[in-house]
Symmetry: none
DNA sequence: GATGAATGAGAGTTCATTCAT
DNA sequence: GATGAATGAACTCTCATTCAT
């Protein structure tokens, strides 16, 4: 069934072109014609593979999201102490997205657009953040049981963990030269995990 | 004699109405007519007080920004130990913005738009973050001199402080029910400041 | 009755200010506010003296037109040979309008606007041209009777006389440096009147 | 394969429709929607072929202008005595434009607008008139050499030639019934060329 | 399957005019 | 009488999407 393979490959190609196009001028300032030109195809062809402009961004984001989830899950499943897992998750997320600030910017476009669009958001950011908080909470519980962290940590500690990662992206998007992401990831882990320790 | 109006008061009124309108549907989905209706005036009247739609948002943001700077400066000038100042700044910023998630959402609209607009951004977000990092760095240096924090803190620690605050707003915008902002502020201070301590 | 005098004087003042304002940017690009500023009064005050923006231009034009008619009539009434009268009329019209190309430009604005406005034109340009042709025809008839011009002149000769004057203004409006109006008037008279002679 | 259209033909079609639309109400009173309706297409389609409303008028004018230049050049190149050439040029220009007074009106719209628009005019009317004066001057020089005209002609004679043609259009635009253009052209030639002769 | 010509809803902004003071 | 704040109709241009070929 070569057709199927082609379809999938072309869809992916268009998606990458769209992401490149969005990265240049932002989602809302990018015309479908820009995407088509970037992909080297006709404007109408995009609609053979994607229902709308929004679906392009949504799909791209979902891909990244899925990979993020996958990596996180892999770490969770690994045989490491819980605090070490938190550390690895923070490092892996920052590393994964730090390849291209332009793309991260596009995702923020999507993120803010999805809030205001009126329609039911196609991606449930509320749930994503809740998932990560929940996962953090579970890991913190395990860490507490092992005596690795102090008992008097505030209940919102998981939110603090999510905040420090998201806030890092925010600064980096505006000013990619402000800090080296690898070192920043290490700094986060250093400061915050120390703040958790007994 | 013509109608006498308090131009300043009316400008402020329109600004508040605009902010309310933007909060409902986001900046780009809000028409000038929506703003006018919200303010109970005619569309054209807005242009007697503001040059453009963008100026409405920019002015609103500048007001908030100025007040934030003012509060921060006040704390800096006060007679407190440096770590205490960091704590107070974090609390004051979160408290100030936590009054209305919708308005914070609008500011993120502005934030992301200013990145992609192409024009020279009217508000220099790069500088704002840099300022706050610089200020944090100065306070950390003082704290180190007084032996309040450990000597081996990573160089990007100021960025971590900024990150944790900004990331908090991000989560809160998406899901204002996720946590109580007051308690969240305390959690940040608890975890992070503990991470800094010797 | 000083009020009446004042009214008239102020009306005239506004009219001159309007003409100056129109001359700068053309009729349609001039806002009522520009006129008000030029006159040093409030926007609303203009409407105490003139019904509309168009009335300003119309009145200004009528003033010039009246003066032109007056001068022409004076020449017609004078004791001169008919060909001399034609000569004097051509010279007087060109001299009268050649004071300011900007104002002439405004009148062309008015002229073209009046064609397309849709409404019945407030100034009957058709009649003005017809009047001048008729007047020319009468003078030519007298000249023929006196044997000053040739008998085989074409029936449209009056139109040629009007054309040469109007076409002069057209060139001059676009490029006031192209020729000296005084010399141009003499050239017209020289060439055309020679063309009429027996 | 997508719809195949003759882009050039459609562009021309739209141009003609625009000219018809402008002729009805004048340039500034005609909406793009009017043009679209006249062309039997959608508003947006016009922008596939022309960048702006102004470009429509400009292009139309340029076409006429080019054809006028072409015809004039042809006459200049022909083997005729110089005075005959002047005669033929006057006749050809008047004949060419006398097909439709409405279109000529539109060109005057363009003409006057280009003076006041503020921007650098896209069509250099100053140069057009200067060109025609220069060309006339050259022909007159040749005629003088051949003894066909008198030696004491005024220096502004070329301007008189241009004036008589332009002034003819002016009268005709306002009142197409005032005279027959063909006869008017003959009258001009009769009166003016006689005025030049020795 | 691919294309790009066609579309028209939509929105920011201007400005002549009105009218309350 | 004088004013200028308020108004809203009007208009150009954009661009995501459709669909005939």
């Amino acid at each position: 069934m070569p057709k199927i393979v082609d379809k999938t490959a072309k869809r992916e190609e268009i998606l990458q072109a769209a992401l490149r196009a969005f990265a240049k001028k932002g989602f809302s300032h990018t015309k479908m014609e820009d995407v088509a030109r970037e992909a080297g195809i006709g404007k109408g062809t995009i609609y053979e593979y994607f229902r709308s402009k929004g679906e392009l961004l949504q799909t791209a984001y979902e891909n990244y999201l899925q990979e993020t989830y996958r990596q996180t899950y892999e770490i969770i499943q690994s045989a490491r102490p819980p605090l070490e897992k938190i550390r690895e998750i923070i490092l892996s997320i920052i590393r994964y997205y730090s390849r291209d600030p332009a793309i991260m910017r596009v995702f923020f476009d999507f993120w803010i657009e999805s809030i205001h669009s009126g329609r039911e958001p196609v991606i449930d950011f509320k749930k994503i953040y809740a998932d990560y908080r929940e996962m953090s909470r579970a890991l913190l519980r395990q860490a507490l049981e092992r005596g690795e962290i102090r008992a008097n940590l505030p209940g919102n500690t998981p939110s603090v963990l999510v905040a420090v990662v998201e806030g890092t992206f925010l600064q980096w998007i505006i000013d990619p030269e402000a800090f080296d992401m690898e070192k920043m990831a290490e700094a986060i882990v250093d400061v915050v995990l120390n703040g958790l320790r007994a």
